[in-house]
C-alpha cells in the first residue's frame, strides 16, 4: 500500500516539523526580516527600467527599457564619474592592499612581545574612529592655519597657505592616504594571525639552510599565507567600489567636485537630492555590474596564481 506509506511518511514529517516548531519560528523570523529588508529592495531595482514617480506604486510605473542607462552614458558627468570611481578604487587597491601585508611581515619581526602588542593596539585605533571625525581631523590639519601649511610655510616650501580640500588636484591623494592611515593596522590583524600559525619547524629548517631574515620572509612566510592573501584580495576587489562612500561624502565639496564625484556620490546626488529615482537606481545598477566584472577578473587572476578561489 504505497498510499499508506506516503501517508505515514507525511505524518512523520509533520511530527518532526511540529517537534521543531519553536526553532522553525526563530528561523522564519529571520527569513521574514530578509524578505522585507533584502529582497523587497532587490525587487525595487526594477525601477531602473521604468519611469517611476513618487505618486504611483512601482508596479504602476511604465516600462522604459534601457533609457536611463543611455541617459547616464550620454551625461556630461559620465566621464568624470567613471574616471574618479575606477581611479580612486584601483589606486586604493594597488597601494592599500599590499601595505598591511608588508606591515604584518615587519611587525612579526619585532622581538619584544610587549612592544609588538603596543604597536598593534595603537595601529588598530583609527579603525574605530568614524569618517566624520576623520573629516574633522583632516579639515583641521589641512586648513589655512593648520599644521601642514604652518610647517611648509616655516620651511619656506610655499609662499602662501594652500587650501588643500578646495583643490581637485590634491583630492585623490588625501582620500588614499587617509584611508591607509585609518585601516593599516586593522587590515594587518588577519595576516598576523595567519603568520602566527606558520609552523616554527619551517623557520628552523630555513635557518639551518642558512636563510637570512628577508629570505625567510620571502621563501617561508609569504608562501605560507598565500591562501589568506588570495581570499582577502578577492574580498577587497569585491568591496572596492563601495569602500569610498562614507569617506568621500565627508570630504567632498563643490570646489573639488571634478575629482570627488564617484558613482556612489552621483547616485546619492541624483537620487536623494534631485529626486530622479529611476535614473539614480539605473546608475547604481551599472555600478554593481562593474563590481561583478572586477570580482570575476580577481577570481580568475588568483586562480591562475595559485589554486585558491572563492568559486
Amino acid at each position: 500500500m504505497p498510499a499508506a506509506d506516503a501517508k505515514a511518511a507525511r505524518s512523520k514529517w509533520f511530527k518532526k516539523l511540529y517537534s521543531q516548531r519553536h526553532i522553525q519560528i526563530m528561523a522564519l523570523l529571520g527569513v521574514l526580516w530578509m524578505i522585507i529588508f533584502n529582497y523587497v529592495p532587490m525587487y525595487g531595482v526594477i525601477i531602473a527600467f521604468k519611469e517611476f514617480n513618487i505618486v504611483k506604486s512601482i508596479s504602476e510605473a511604465p516600462w522604459v527599457g534601457f533609457m536611463h542607462f543611455k541617459e547616464f552614458f550620454q551625461d556630461e558627468s559620465f566621464v568624470d564619474v567613471m574616471k574618479n570611481t575606477l581611479g580612486i578604487s584601483l589606486i586604493k587597491l594597488a597601494i592599500g592592499f599590499p601595505l598591511p601585508i608588508i606591515f604584518a611581515l615587519f611587525l612579526n619581526e619585532v622581538r619584544s612581545v610587549g612592544f609588538k602588542k603596543a604597536i598593534q593596539t595603537i595601529s588598530y585605533l583609527p579603525h574605530f574612529l568614524s569618517w566624520v571625525i576623520l573629516g574633522g581631523i583632516l579639515a583641521t590639519w589641512l586648513s589655512d592655519v593648520g599644521i601642514i601649511n604652518n610647517v611648509l610655510l616655516a620651511l619656506n616650501f610655499i609662499d602662501e597657505p594652500i587650501s588643500y580640500l578646495a583643490e581637485p588636484s590634491y583630492f585623490w591623494s588625501i582620500i588614499i592616504t587617509s584611508d591607509i592611515w585609518k585601516e593599516l593596522g586593522w587590515s594587518a590583524i588577519i595576516y598576523l594571525a595567519a603568520i602566527a600559525s606558520v609552523s616554527p619547524e619551517l623557520y628552523e629548517a630555513a635557518t639551518i639552510d642558512g636563510a637570512g631574515r628577508f629570505q625567510k620572509m620571502w621563501y617561508v612566510t609569504l608562501p605560507s599565507i598565500k591562501a589568506t592573501i588570495s581570499i582577502l584580495f578577492i574580498l577587497a576587489v569585491s568591496g572596492v567600489l563601495n569602500s569610498n562612500f562614507d569617506q568621500i561624502l565627508v570630504l567632498r565639496n563643490s570646489l573639488n567636485e571634478s575629482a570627488s564625484n564617484v558613482i556612489d556620490i552621483y547616485v546619492y546626488q541624483t537620487g536623494m537630492q534631485q529626486g530622479r529615482y529611476s535614473y539614480s537606481t539605473a546608475v547604481g545598477l551599472f555600478k554593481s555590474l562593474i563590481a561583478l566584472i572586477l570580482l570575476l577578473i580577481a577570481n580568475r587572476v588568483t586562480k591562475k596564481m595559485n589554486d585558491t578561489s572563492l568559486f
Binding site: G30, I36, V40, F103, V110, I122, F128, L129, G136, T140
Partner: protein, 295 residues
C-alpha cells in the same frame, strides 16, 4: 629562542631599523589625534592663530563647557547613546537567535534558508529602493529606522553559526531531558556559553551604531533625532556654522569660536570609543579569528 648564536651586525642593524620604523608608524597614528586634542583644550580665539602642536598654549575648557551646555549637541548625544544600546542589544539577540535556529541539525528547510541568506551577501537593492522601502514602512523620521533595518546581518549570522557548531551537543541534550523547550535552551544554555562571540559581534555592531552618520542624513529630517555623528557631519562637511551657532546658548562667546566648538565636539564624540577600546581589544582580535577561520 633556539637561536643561541649571537646576533650578527646585519641582524642587529635590522632590529634597530625595524623598531624605529614601527615607532614612526605609532607616532604617525597617534599624533593627528593628539593634535586635535591639544587644540580643543586651547582657548578658541588664541587657537585661530594656529601653531599649537604639542600642548595647549592658553589652556581653557570653555569650549567643552559650551558643548555640554548646548541642548542641540546633548540631544544628539542622547540619541546616539540610545541607538547604540538598543540597536546593539537587539542586533545581537536577534541575529544569534536566527543563527541558532539555522545551525540546528535536522532543521526542515535549513539548507534553503541558508541559501536564501547567502544571496543577500552578494545582491542588494541599493540606495533608492531601500529608501523607498523605509518610506513605505513609515520609518522616515522615526527613531526605529536606526534599529530595525540594522538588527540582522547574515555575515554576523555566519560567525555565530561557526561558534554554535562547536558547542557540544551534550549541553542541549541535558537541558532537553530536563524538559526545557527550544526557547529556554537558547536563552539559558546557549547564550551564556557564547559570551566570546556575543562580545565580538556586540563590539562591532556597537562601533557601527556609534559611528554611523548616513542613516541620519537620509532618513531623518527631524533635527531633534539626529545622532551626534550626523550633527557633526552637517558642521564638518556642510560647514553649517548656523547650526553650530544655534546650538550654543547665548551665541559664541569671546573665547569660544566655531572651530574650537567643533574640535571639542569631536573629542567628546570620540572619547567613549577611546576609553572603552583597551578593555574590548581582546574580543575583537578573537572575533577576527573566528571570522577568518570561516573565510
Amino acid at each position: 629562542m633556539f637561536n643561541i648564536k649571537r646576533k650578527t651586525k646585519g641582524e642587529a642593524f635590522f632590529d634597530i631599523f625595524n623598531n624605529f620604523g614601527m615607532l614612526l608608524i605609532c607616532f604617525a597614528t597617534l599624533y593627528p589625534i593628539w593634535y586635535v586634542l591639544v587644540n580643543a583644550f586651547n582657548e578658541g580665539q588664541d587657537g585661530m592663530r594656529g601653531g599649537i602642536y604639542w600642548w595647549p598654549r592658553v589652556f581653557s575648557i570653555e569650549s567643552f563647557d559650551a558643548v555640554f551646555q548646548s541642548s542641540g549637541i546633548m540631544t544628539a548625544m542622547g540619541i546616539t547613546v540610545a541607538k547604540t544600546l538598543l540597536g546593539t542589544v537587539l542586533h545581537v539577540f536577534f541575529t544569534a537567535m536566527v543563527a541558532y535556529a539555522f545551525s540546528r541539525k535536522g532543521l526542515i528547510g535549513g539548507k534553503i534558508y541558508i541559501l536564501f541568506g547567502t544571496v543577500t551577501l552578494f545582491f542588494g537593492g541599493g540606495l533608492i529602493p531601500t529608501y523607498l522601502l523605509m518610506r513605505d514602512l513609515h520609518l522616515l523620521d522615526n527613531f526605529m529606522v536606526y534599529i530595525i533595518p540594522a538588527m540582522f546581518s547574515f555575515f554576523d549570522l555566519i560567525i555565530f553559526m561557526t561558534f554554535f557548531r562547536d558547542i557540544p551537543d551534550g549541553l542541549e541534550e541535558a537541558a532537553k531531558i530536563d524538559g526545557a523547550n527550544d526557547w529556554s535552551i537558547f536563552v539559558r544554555v546557549i547564550l551564556p556559553v557564547s559570551m566570546p562571540v556575543i562580545a565580538t559581534i556586540a563590539l562591532f555592531h556597537g562601533v557601527y551604531q556609534w559611528n554611523d552618520y548616513f542613516a541620519g542624513v537620509i532618513y531623518m529630517n527631524n533635527m531633534d533625532m539626529q545622532p551626534i555623528q550626523t550633527y557633526l557631519y552637517r558642521i564638518v562637511a556642510q560647514s553649517s556654522s548656523s547650526q553650530m551657532l544655534a546650538a550654543i546658548p547665548g551665541g559664541i562667546g569671546k573665547s569660544v569660536t566655531t572651530q574650537s566648538i567643533k574640535l571639542a565636539t569631536m573629542v567628546v564624540t570620540t572619547l567613549p570609543i577611546v576609553i572603552a577600546y583597551p578593555f574590548l581589544q581582546k574580543y575583537f582580535v578573537k572575533g577576527m579569528m573566528i571570522g577568518s577561520i570561516k573565510g
